[in-house]
Amino acid sequence: MFRIGLRDTKAHFRRFVMSIIAIALGVAFVVGSFCFREMLNDQVAQMMGSNSDADVYVRGATEQKEDGEGGVNSHTYNEISTDVIPDIEKVDGVASADATHQLGNAVLLDRNGDAMTTVGAPTLVIGFDEHDPWRSTHFVSGGYPRTDDAVALLEDTADKAGLRTGDTAKIVIDGEVHEMTVSGVFTSPSTQLGAILILARPSFVEHQLQEEGEDTSSVQYIGVYGDKTTPLDEAAQQQLADRINEMLPKSADAHAVTGASVRDESTKSIQDQLGFIQPLILIFAAIALFVGAFIIANTFTMIVRESMRGYALLRSVGASPLQVFASVLIQAVILGLVGSGIGVLLGWGLLEAIAKGMTSGGMPLSGSPAPSATDVIIGVIVGVVVTIIGATLPAKTAATAPPIQAMNETVNPEKPVKARGWLGIAMVVIGAAFWVLCYLDAAKTVDWQWLNDLGSGWTLGLGAGFVVIGAIVCAPAFVAPAAKVLGWVPSKMFPVTGKLATRNIGRAKRRTANTAAALFIGVAIVSCLGVVATSMKTSVSNLVDNNVNADYVAMTASMSQPISTKAVDAIEDTDGVGASSPIYMLPTVKVANATEDIMPNTGNIDLFTKIAPIAQQDGDAAKAVEDGEAAVGRTIADDEHWKIGDVIDLESENTSVDEEATKQASEAYQKQVEQQATALQQEAQQLAASGDVSGAQAKAKEAEDVVKQAQDVDPKQFVKMKTETKKEQVRIGAIIDDSLYADGVMISLPTAEKLTSKDMMMVTQMYVQAEPGADVEHLGKDLKETVKPFYTVSVLTRDEFKSSMSSMINSMLAIIYALLALSIIIAIFGIVNTLALNVSERTKEIGLLRAIGTSNGQVRGMLAIEAVILSVFGTIVGIVVGVAAGVVIRAAYESQGMTTLTIPWDQLVLFLVVAVLVGLVASISPARRALKQPVLDAVASE
């Protein structure tokens, strides 16, 4: 049997090409998704290896409870004081110990003075110098910065900025431009994924942080090198950590661990955060494999049908059903192996291409995305199993059909699809009911506690699951009616071929429905996302159109780079500016008596009255805020069950430089130096007295050195920070319904200033209205001129503002179209295959048609219409389900800003046009096959 199976495989190989492609695609996605995750993991691990390269880390000894936010696997410990650094440095085997600080809010300007941006990667100014070096780096030219106005740049950064050692680099930190000399250019073992890395002296970085109110004297980690050039192995790391732990006093509440363990931990936590990408890819792998299994089932049905006589012969000469079954299944296994093999290579190639694309897109990756042995094994197993599943039913038919029936070529009539239809409809109804519940809940038409508890995620998900599966289940029952409706137009245009095609569609209902399902799922996902994205876009633009009366909006390049107070003042002082208001975010302020994290905002009163007047509210927000009360958004008020008159507790943790403590520390150091110097001088005098002149001179020199050293010491290192918590109780004076304010809490500027200093407030947006009568266009030019010195601030017109807010949505739409392209390719395979099977089953009928005068063009036309009806059927069901899902999702997230429902009709029409093209393309090869068959073979009666 094995030999027969093998020979059959060879004979059918051409037939198998499509199945192989389908399996290969599915396996490619599976392998690709695993490889992609591994590639990301590699990158993260490499970055950890080069960026957290200390041999030992000293960190807090007490684990902190995290408030459920962020990664599941990230452990946080108490912060430790940098005071322990000198003690650690004294430990035997420690080459250097250092708490590395970095600034995340800097912007580097390139040669031409334009702010440099990255694709998601950060711009970091990191404190390193010769005393506290970064072991993993290697300088290609120059060296570490020696002064506070020098920096070293990563080679990738320097190349992109067009800067070289000796040039002057402009760095904007907190709105202030620093002109700094490039002291050197370095490389690091990891590519840093396109991040812009700038090394500055630690004292400079710490000073900047202190300006921003960050306490630099307590840190999460202190990095310890055992050697300044070569990393220690794990055993040596452990020994060093043990020695440090012996020394660390209990009061420091600190603990030393090996560098390797820290790297592993943080690598894992970042990898977990990136983990969501893989399931997304796997959805498409599942679609590809579903189509693959289906194509294989079709192909084997064809082969088995054609080989029926052969199997009957085998059976009649005594082969057992099991042996026939095996001979078919062997073909499936071979097919699966070949397909999976190609798939693994394809997935690998795909990843190489992605890596190349990311590198050229400014996100260089290092390492090879080659699949691991596990990936290959998983891919091959998936491929083979899917193939066997696809081939099992046809193989069973081959094995169990009675020899006599097998001899006669009859197409068994299909089992009725009515029961399936009802079951599917029931599922769709249940799913739709979930969606309706979700919709009603979102629209607040009903207020059932259990529904609120269930949450919109569950109702949406359950609804989608039921609807999608139900649609697939009931689709066969709707094939015939749908064909009638969809076939109406072609039947009018091509009376004969249109009619034939329309009726043919209804013949193999299950097959037709399954083929359409591949397209259906892809189109449903895409049109759902399309509706959501377009609704988001119009909501944003409507929000701006209807609610914002600003003529210009000043924005920052990034959240980490707020508009500085100076810039705010400059904009306010520009000629022609009427009402204006920055939106201050208060990152240090929390609402203590709220169940969720709420960060209040503040702005000028103009905001409520002129710039974004409130249309619907309880109370009067402008008056309330003016009186020092709070105005709360409706969404928050509902969630927290707040009413007008309730009181919210605001708390702010403010960190600032403790002048007193700083002075004391500085004085204490002076005193210590004086004492040391005095002691040395006394020793020198004693030595001089005892006649040791050279010894005395040496001692005197030592004393001088101590004094000199003390003079050189950077006073910044004595800076002490203090933290104080300020509290305010504020009455809620108004609840605002307008969606612009719906999820915010607004307090007055004076209240905010009582809680925290203006330096601690962040401005990311500032709205500007022209003075009545002022030339709006002229004002725009003036404003652009005004913000020029601040580099990172840009002034946008209303339209620019709208498009800037929808640019993210546009890139999301680009991804949607990529996904659509993918599902189309897979769907084409399915349609081609189904048509091929149909053609093979209808060999005689097509022969008959040609014998009575049907031209080749008419046969092609008939198959093309069939294919088009099939693909349009799948597409329309997909669009209906997808749009419905989009409508419900939009409603569910209405309170989060998706106020307007927009259905992207142009996109949907485009999908239909594409569906027609897909059908036409898919019919080419089956038609060729149908016409290759000689008429005589088809009609000759044997």
């Binding site: 009726r503 005689k844 009575i852 031209s855 000759a940 009666s941």
Partner: protein, 270 residues
């Protein structure tokens, strides 16, 4: 494209509607060559029902297939209405099938998705030709299918299906209808009905029909019976009786043919 006018078969004075000139056809490669037609020349006369008989492998089907442009002869020529079929390309063949030739096969004559009426009208629609309703009613009346017109083939008996196929072939009024074992799958009563209809077409409407059969009773309906043996025509009988035909086969004593009284495999119809 010159369309044929509707109405009676194209008026032509030529008494020969189709002819084979020195037809030679072999199958297989040089090692195992089978000669199906051995230099056959024959004229088929207009307005006659010609039956081609012969045992299995005698070449009767090959002759008809070559005549109908379904198969290409190794050498020799085929003419239908003075058009050389044997040198036609696909496009010309399609036109030939639309205008000059009608087919009735042994089985699988009808498109299963179309009703009887749609099947009958299919050739005209494919050829974009106008439908002559009077002629349609006449043809349907002759085959007795008035009440079955909106039935699908699966709802018709074997005999009814074959009658639909006959009606379809007649509907386009081709120069010649080729019938390949039209009664091969039918019981005797249905066979008689179908053969009677073919007879009627020839007699009343002057239709030319060439029919391949190995049933002497079917052949006895013909105006002329050709008998093929080993690729050559061995007998050419004019209006033979059933007994004449039986006599010929008795002479041949071909064991393949079996006892002549036995009808071919019974059809589905009760």
């Amino acid at each position: 494209m010159s369309r044929k006018t509707t109405g009676a078969p194209a008026p032509s004075n030529d008494p020969v509607v189709a002819k084979a000139v020195d037809l030679y056809k072999t199958y297989g490669d040089t090692d195992s060559q089978v000669t199906a037609l051995n230099h056959v020349s024959v004229d088929f006369r207009r307005g006659e029902l010609t039956a081609i008989m012969g045992p299995s492998g005698s070449g009767k089907s090959t002759l008809m297939h070559c005549m109908a442009g379904l198969d290409v002869p190794t050498s020799g020529k085929v003419f239908v209405e003075d058009l050389e079929v044997s040198s036609m390309n696909q496009k010309q063949l399609t036109q030939l099938r639309r205008k000059e030739i009608g087919f009735i096969f042994q089985s699988f004559n009808l498109v299963p998705t179309l009703t009887a009426e749609e099947n009958i009208l299919l050739p005209l629609q494919i050829a974009h030709r106008p439908i002559d309703r009077d002629w349609f009613r006449k043809v349907v009346g002759v085959v007795g299918l008035e009440n079955r017109l909106d039935h699908r083939p699966s709802q018709l008996s074997g005999g009814q299906q074959q009658r639909v196929a006959c009606a379809r072939a007649m509907m386009e009024r081709p120069s010649v209808i080729f019938a390949d074992e039209p009664t091969g799958n039918l019981d005797s009563r249905s066979s008689r009905e179908v053969l009677g209809f073919l007879r009627q077409c020839v007699q009343e409407y002057g239709q030319s029909i060439v029919m391949v059969t190995h049933d002497p009773r079917a052949a006895s309906f013909a105006d002329r019976v050709l008998v093929l043996s080993d690729g050559s025509i061995t007998q050419d009988m004019d209006h033979p009786t059933y007994d004449d035909i039986l006599a010929v086969f008795a002479e041949h004593d071909d064991p393949d043919n079996g006892p002549v009284e036995v009808e071919p495999t019974a059809g589905k119809e009760a």
